[in-house]
């Protein structure tokens, strides 16, 4: 791996990302001009923006940003980009007085669209701060879509080549045959949905513009940061909750599928096995949780509560319209939420975890092995969208699922050893590595991760980062074959 090339590309990415500091700066200046906050509140954003731009400029000048990267280098860029960008995005948090570990936790949680927070006192920060926090998630989602729909399938990593395969040969062109066009169109869709959500929240639900923007920025990337300490529950606005149910469901859907359904053929939704699985699980767990809570047939409010939590958790957004850690929630009802968390959103969205499609294929794989025991001579296939999945593809997919399970277990065990209780430790692990946000026990939706000790926070931070990149991407970089070949590579001739 030629580190020079990787750093060069990272420099370019940082230069681009420095622009992200403009909106919070403007908001801070506007608030200061209107006399809400002191002028110096704009300083962290100006400073962080300048630092990011300068570092990016220097890196891309020193090192040759060669776009013809080898496989390992491409992975290095991906993994490095998330981490480096998170470091710079953490600067405003540090300026607000968070410790370095806490700031990085919050920043990584944002950029990986997790939504787990270490903030304890929401009153201590201004509007620009929360806008920035929401924006990190929105940019994270933007990166995830580009990465998972465009870059990783191209590299054939983690079985991704299978998920969007339908597109190219069924006559239903995915979106466009050209990668650049795909990314551009999906980003437009992402932007369009965000704007639509802002409009829906302000006009239909009467939510203030600022809060609507902050929520829209964290819904579409399936992030879950809310400027309100009590999340959505704090607004007590049923209309807003229904709107969010819809947009969270959309956020957990495959964006390429959404594009096809919107602009080509709505029937594609019915044909998509993953979507059916995703929506089915969401509805069943939502209605199930509501029924358990109501002790029978739930009323509309009960349904809304059930569906809101499962839509939030299955799409890995992490908003809460109720504190499910407290009464009247029981372990029986929480189990439905756990199922939603484990199934996860669709590949091609900004949702975290191993994704619904991998779990679906895992179940089909299990089904096939069961029927193999009945029909030892059968030529049995695992089909996805009517086509057989190759054993290579299946292996890659199962590998990702297993890696996630192992990681959930190891990280959870670490937290428990560091003093968390079982429920808190393992649910915090699932919530962070799966990029969901809230968990159960002491890390419920109205609580935060601040109580954990520093090593736990560091492990969770790394977990969010690796989980966001579906683990394989990051772990592959630790392979001896990559580490042995580590060198600087070509420096730019000046």
């Amino acid at each position: 791996m030629r580190l020079g090339l990787v750093l060069g590309v990272l420099g370019k990415i940082l230069r681009l990302f420095s622009l992200a500091f403009v909106p919070p700066t403007l908001l801070a200046l506007a608030d200061a001009w209107r006399g809400f906050t002191p002028w110096d509140h704009a300083l962290p954003f100006v400073g962080a923006g300048l630092a990011t731009a300068a570092t990016g400029y220097l890196l891309s000048r020193w090192f040759h940003p060669n776009p013809r990267l080898h496989r390992a280098e491409a992975l290095g860029v991906v993994a490095g980009a998330w981490f480096l960008v998170a470091c710079f995005a953490a600067v405003p948090y540090v300026a607000e007085g968070l410790s370095a570990v806490d700031a990085l936790f919050e920043s990584i949680s944002g950029l990986t669209t997790t939504g787990a927070t270490i903030l304890t006192d929401f009153g201590a920060y201004d509007r620009a701060f929360f806008l920035w926090r929401s924006m990190t998630q929105w940019f994270g989602g933007l990166g995830v879509i580009a990465l998972f729909v465009v870059i990783l399938p191209e590299l054939g990593i983690a079985g991704r080549q299978i998920f969007f395969a339908e597109a190219s040969d069924a006559g239903h062109e995915l979106v466009s045959p050209r990668l650049r066009d795909i990314a551009r169109r999906l980003w437009l869709l992402y932007l369009g949905l965000t704007v639509a959500e802002v409009l829906a929240l302000t006009t239909l639900a009467g939510m203030p513009l600022y809060d609507s923007v902050c929520h829209a920025l964290t819904t579409m990337p399936a992030g879950g940061f809310s400027p309100h300490p009590a999340s959505i529950a704090g607004y007590d606005n049923p209309t807003a909750e229904w709107i969010l149910v819809v947009f969270m469901t959309l956020a957990g859907m495959s964006f390429p599928l959404l594009w096809i359904a919107l602009f080509r053929d709505p029937r594609a939704l019915g044909r998509d096995g993953e979507f059916r699985f995703y929506l089915g699980t969401m509805l069943v767990t939502g209605v199930g949780a509501a029924a358990v809570l109501a002790g029978g047939v739930p009323d509309l409010e009960g349904l809304r509560t059930g569906l809101f939590q499962t839509a939030s958790l299955i799409s890995s957004t992490g908003y809460a319209s109720t504190d499910w850690v407290l009464e009247p929630w029981t372990d029986a009802a929480r189990t439905f939420l756990l199922v939603a968390m484990l199934v996860g959103g669709c590949a091609g969205s900004a949702a975290g975890g191993a994704k619904a499609v991998r779990h679906l294929l895992m179940l089909k794989f299990v089904g096939r092995e069961l029927s193999r025991s009945l029909h030892p001579h059968g030529v049995l296939l695992v089909r996805y969208k009517g086509k057989p999945v190759t054993d290579d593809g299946l292996r890659a997919i199962l590998n990702v699922v297993l890696l996630f399970l192992i990681t959930y277990a190891l990280v959870g065990a670490f937290l428990v050893v560091r003093g968390a209780d079982f429920v808190t430790g393992f649910s915090a692990s699932l919530a962070c590595v799966g990029n969901i946000g809230p968990g159960f026990g002491a890390v419920g939706p109205m609580a935060n991760f601040a109580e954990l000790d520093v090593p736990s926070k560091v492990v969770l931070t790394l977990g969010m980062w690796a989980g966001r990149l579906e683990l394989v991407t990051v772990l592959a970089l630790l392979h001896p074959d990559v580490l042995r070949r580590l060198r600087w590579g070509a420096r730019r001739e000046v």
């Binding site: 029909h375 001579h377 059968g378 030529v379």
Partner: protein
């Protein structure tokens, strides 16, 4: 007519054999073809490659009335046909035997037309369709449809406890719109009359309207409280025919198992079928038991090996499969298999060769279908205008012949004894092969030779 056949195996020989009595046949075979195979044929032989215009000219395609290419190589057949047409053959017919070019005859026909080929024959596709047609009718051993489906004919076994076995026909009767045209007990064929009492195990061929036949099949032939035949089938052999049959059944909602011996072929067909594809030998009794083949009401043995099909069929019969359809490609096997108790035997070549022969042989222009390997046939005969109206019961046919349907002014009448045959009617007549000429004379009251000229 001068007919030129290009081929390299039994298909060509059978075709030549079927045509050589009436026509002047030239057979084009490859250089290396051994003489032994050709001894019995009274044809002119030309050796060489048909893709070369030289050989074709030598075979005389320029003034041939028909050129048929039926070698095992589809592409070669296509090229040979196009070339023959270019050289001046009046009609060219192309066999596509491996289906690599097109998978259905309809598709293949449009391709062929664009190449200037008049017609194509896909033997495997024909066989598959023929088998499907039979399998889809519960319990049927043979089926045929005439007049665009308005008249149906079904051969079926009379089951234990069926209403038809409860007495002689004059007491039991048949539903309106149905005629029993033939009965079969053991190997004896007979025309049912009022005194006939059917027994379980007899076979009966009935002809009638769709509604009448449905009544007849469900109320008269099946046991009173018998469940409907389940839509499950085993297909042994996953080749072109097996695949097409499995696909057709599956599309009609059947649950199908396919047993195929070749692993690579298994991998090829499994993704294209919903059916359970089993890699194994159809003659492996262990496998048949393991997969509960005996519980499926239908088994279709269509490997490319006749002997294997026979063995599979016998094993299946022993396992309790009610209906077994077996493919036999060697002509001799068709009769042989029926002798050892296989109910339905079909051959790829039989259907294809018959198709060509029927097209060529204008003497048989009124031949609609054959049963029992040509022993009995269905003819469409036109009654002359001056024929006096006669009730069927009084129409003393001189031979084994029975009127299954009367077509009058576009209407279909399934006749009873009192119905009249009038001048200008068309009759669907069920007749034994040896009585064809007599039946024609009797009903058409004209000499066949004149009919030949008239047409």
């Amino acid at each position: 007519m001068r007919i030129c056949i290009d081929g390299d195996d039994s298909v060509a020989f059978r075709l030549a054999e079927a045509l050589m009595q009436q026509h002047e046949v030239t057979l084009v075979v490859p250089e290396e073809m051994p003489d032994v195979d050709l001894d019995q044929l009274e044809v002119r032989l030309v050796r060489g490659s048909t893709i070369s215009g030289e050989t074709l000219k030598e075979a005389g395609v320029e003034d041939a009335g028909l050129f048929v290419a039926c070698s095992v190589l589809d592409e070669r057949n296509l090229v040979a046909c196009a070339e023959a047409k270019r050289l001046g053959a009046r009609q060219v017919t192309c066999f596509l035997r491996r289906h690599e070019v097109q998978s259905s005859e309809a598709e293949a026909n449009s391709l062929a037309r664009s190449l200037g080929i008049d017609s194509v024959v896909l033997p495997a596709d024909r066989l598959a369709r023929e088998i499907l047609k039979i399998v889809m009718v519960p319990g049927a051993l043979d089926v045929e449809a005439f007049e665009g489906g308005r008249v149906r004919l079904v051969k079926r076994r009379v089951e234990e406890g069926a209403y038809l076995t409860s007495g002689p026909l004059k007491e039991v009767g048949v539903p309106k719109g149905v005629v029993l045209v033939m009965g079969q007990r053991d190997d004896r064929i007979f025309i049912p009359d009022g005194d006939t009492a059917f027994r379980p195990g007899d076979k009966v061929i009935a002809m009638g309207t769709t509604a009448g036949m449905n009544r007849f099949l469900t109320r008269y032939l099946s046991p009173r409280r018998g469940g409907r035949e389940e839509h499950r089938a085993t297909v042994v052999g996953g080749g072109v025919v097996g695949f097409a049959v499995a696909k057709g059944l599956e599309d009609a909602g059947w649950r199908v198992k396919v047993i195929e011996q070749d692993e690579r072929r298994c991998q090829e067909i499994a993704p294209r079928l919903k059916a359970l594809v089993l890699h194994g030998d159809g003659t492996d009794l262990e496998l048949l038991r393991e997969e509960h083949i005996g519980e499926d009401p239908v088994l279709i043995a269509v490997t490319s090996n006749d002997e294997k099909n026979l063995l599979v069929s016998l094993l299946a019969k022993q396992q309790g499969v009610a209906r077994i359809i077996t493919r036999a490609d060697k002509p001799a096997n068709e009769l042989l298999f029926e002798d050892v108790g296989i109910d339905v035997v079909r051959s790829t070549l039989g259907a294809a060769v018959r198709a060509v022969v029927r097209k060529v042989d204008r003497r048989d222009r009124d031949l609609l279908a054959e049963f029992e390997h040509g022993e009995v046939r269905v003819l469409r005969l036109r009654v002359p205008e001056d024929f006096p109206p006669t009730p069927l019961a009084e129409l003393q046919a001189p031979v084994f012949a029975i009127v299954g349907a009367i077509l009058r002014n576009g209407e279909v009448i399934i006749p009873h004894g009192r119905d009249e045959v009038r001048g200008g009617d068309q009759l669907l007549v069920f007749v034994k092969a040896e009585g064809i000429e007599e039946a024609r004379r009797f009903f058409e009251r004209v000499h066949p030779a004149r009919a030949h000229r008239d047409s």
